[in-house]
């Protein structure tokens, strides 16, 4: 890899994988799954009294990319409004789809570490998994009546 920061990125991913800060055992939430590798992750998002995201956590199993990505997601969305979080996630996913330049990730926190992954088509799905799960969680926060049915 020609990127001079490749080793730094790798270190960031490894750190979140080995010592996740936001991994909890979550019950009752649906998993997002990547059937091609069996990775699964679910994300919980709770809002505070001020309407901002007060808590985020994940639970699941998978490779270092999918698990570190989940931890970084949680870190990134805490303190944001659901709308801000949604925009952030959509930008991240658009980078992974190749629709936005990877340099967009420079504005992110540790998610910048996925600049290298964004160029690897097979692993993009791993990086995207938790962020997709978070989007559907945000959807159900917007429509609590549907969520409460289950």
């Amino acid at each position: 890899m020609s990127d001079p920061f490749a080793a730094v990125y790798e270190e960031i991913i490894h750190e979140h994988y080995k010592k996740p800060k936001y991994r909890r055992i979550l019950e009752g939430l649906p998993f997002a799954e990547n059937p091609s590798c069996g990775d699964r992750v679910r994300v919980s998002i709770t809002l505070g009294a001020d309407g901002r995201i007060a808590g985020a956590a994940f639970d699941g199993s998978g490779c270092s990319i999918s698990m570190s990505s989940a931890d970084i997601l949680a870190e990134d969305i805490i303190g944001k409004t659901p709308e801000e979080a949604r925009r952030l996630i959509e930008t991240f996913l658009a980078v992974l789809r190749g629709e936005l330049d990877v340099d967009e990730l420079d504005a992110f926190g540790d998610a910048v570490a996925f600049k290298g992954v964004a160029r690897l088509p097979v692993r993009v799905k791993c990086a995207a998994l938790a962020w997709r799960a978070a989007l559907s969680q945000l959807d159900s926060i917007d429509r609590p009546q549907e969520n409460s049915k289950s």
Binding site: C37, G38, G62, C63, I65
Partner: protein, 413 residues
């Protein structure tokens, strides 16, 4: 003259032959550091195969079977020569060789023709170790025809449970479809016994020989299989070409597959009549250049000694297993007595993708995932595994390097 693998020779001797053969594969000139251990997914292509395909385009490119002009005649002749060569390669008659895009299409062809003649409640016997290509087409058939599927269990050793197999037969059994070599465990199944039991019950057998074709001489007559399916690209040939072998008796009784040109003898507005074998199953313009490439690959494999090559690949697999066995956290899937050059393993709690990505940093290519065999992974209680699979250009140094790198992986992952 090309070097040949030597039967019953020490691995060192065949390894130096593999090292010499490696020079025939341009990709290793482009990427001298590459240690390619993903042969069960696809094999690299020797120059003679690439040249044959290119030569067809340079000198004989025309559509087949309909042209009167000289170059069209030549294209047809080369395509039919490829068919004769493949018939010879597996001990069949040219009429019994249907060119397809690969194993998956070959099996789907049978499911969509022979399968459509089945009645509700008819039964098909598969095994738990099948590749999705030999499972999903039959699952789809259960939806279309109401047939039911029964599965030969896999033992902890990674072998088919033959005692259970024999109990699966009933008067409703219409087909046994099993793999000759597991693409995950490397197990070489006792297909002679499997076929004998099925034929004893007057049930035809389809063999998935995708992993066998590159590594063992096949003799359709001696084996007695009713169908066999394989892909070119796993046997050093181009992508997009494969073979369905079927006995004349079976193929004749089956309705055609896709409709279009070449599969008909006559078309009127009211309908059509079907062409003779094997054209009945080859609608549309076939992959002509790829067939020529496949012929060259069969020539190449025969010239290096396919039986001794397969033995050598098994020896590399044993060397690899002996090497990694002692690494803490390593679990090798299956311990079959007869194993081809395929080894699937897990490493402690590390995800298979991470193991493969780690090896890739050292230019070692292995596969990671479920290897298109979800039910087998579930059988062994795992989500995914890493898989090393060996081919004609792999040396013992390749194996030793992979073992050494894996020995250091545990600390990092």
């Amino acid at each position: 003259m090309r070097a040949q693998f030597v039967a019953h020779a020490p691995v060192e001797e065949n390894s130096s032959i593999a090292g010499a053969l490696k020079r025939e594969f341009p990709i290793f000139g482009e990427r001298p550091e590459l240690i390619y251990l993903d042969n069960a997914a696809t094999a690299q292509k020797p120059l003679s195969v690439l040249d044959a395909e290119r030569d067809f385009y340079l000198r004989s490119c025309a559509n087949v079977h309909r042209a009167i002009h000289a170059i069209g005649e030549e294209a047809t002749a080369r395509y039919e020569e490829a068919r004769r060569r493949m018939a010879d390669f597996i001990g069949a008659r040219p009429r019994e060789i249907v060119f397809t895009r690969g194993t998956t299409e070959s099996i789907n062809l049978v499911a969509r023709t022979f399968g459509e003649t089945l009645q509700p409640d008819d039964e098909i016997i598969l095994s738990v170790m099948e590749h999705h290509a030999n499972m999903v087409p039959w699952q789809q058939l259960t939806e279309r025809r109401g047939v039911s599927l029964k599965f030969i269990p896999v033992t902890e050793e990674g072998e088919l449970d033959l005692a259970e197999y024999e109990k699966l037969f009933s008067p409703k059994t219409r087909l046994v479809a099993v793999t000759m070599v597991s693409n995950v465990l490397g197990t070489i199944n006792p297909v002679d016994k499997i076929i004998a039991a099925a034929h004893g019950a007057k049930v035809p057998v389809l063999l998935d020989v995708a992993q066998a074709a590159p590594s063992m001489p096949l003799d359709a007559r001696a084996l007695g299989a009713d169908f066999a399916a394989f892909s070119g690209h796993k046997m050093y040939a181009p992508f997009g070409i494969g073979v369905l072998y079927g006995t004349e008796r079976m193929l004749d009784a089956m309705p055609p597959f896709m409709g279009g040109g070449d599969m008909i003898s006559e078309v009127r507005l009211e309908g059509f009549s079907v062409n003779e074998l094997p054209y009945k199953f080859e609608a549309g313009t076939p992959p002509v250049a790829q067939a020529v490439g496949l012929e060259a690959a069969a020539d190449w494999l025969s010239s290096v000694g396919i039986a001794a090559l397969g033995e050598y690949e098994s020896a590399l697999a044993r060397r690899f297993m002996d090497g990694i066995e002692g690494i803490p956290g390593i679990r090798i899937l299956g311990s079959a007595a007869r194993r081809a050059g395929i080894v699937a393993f897990t490493l402690g709690g590390a995800h298979a993708h991470d193991v493969a990505a780690y090896l890739d940093r050292f230019n070692i290519a292995v596969r990671a995932g479920h290897h298109c065999a979800h039910p087998l992974a579930r059988r062994f209680g795992i989500v995914s595994s890493a898989r090393a699979s060996f081919g004609a250009y792999n040396t013992r140094e390749d194996v030793d390097r992979a073992v050494a790198v894996l020995a250091g992986a545990g600390e990092v992952l």
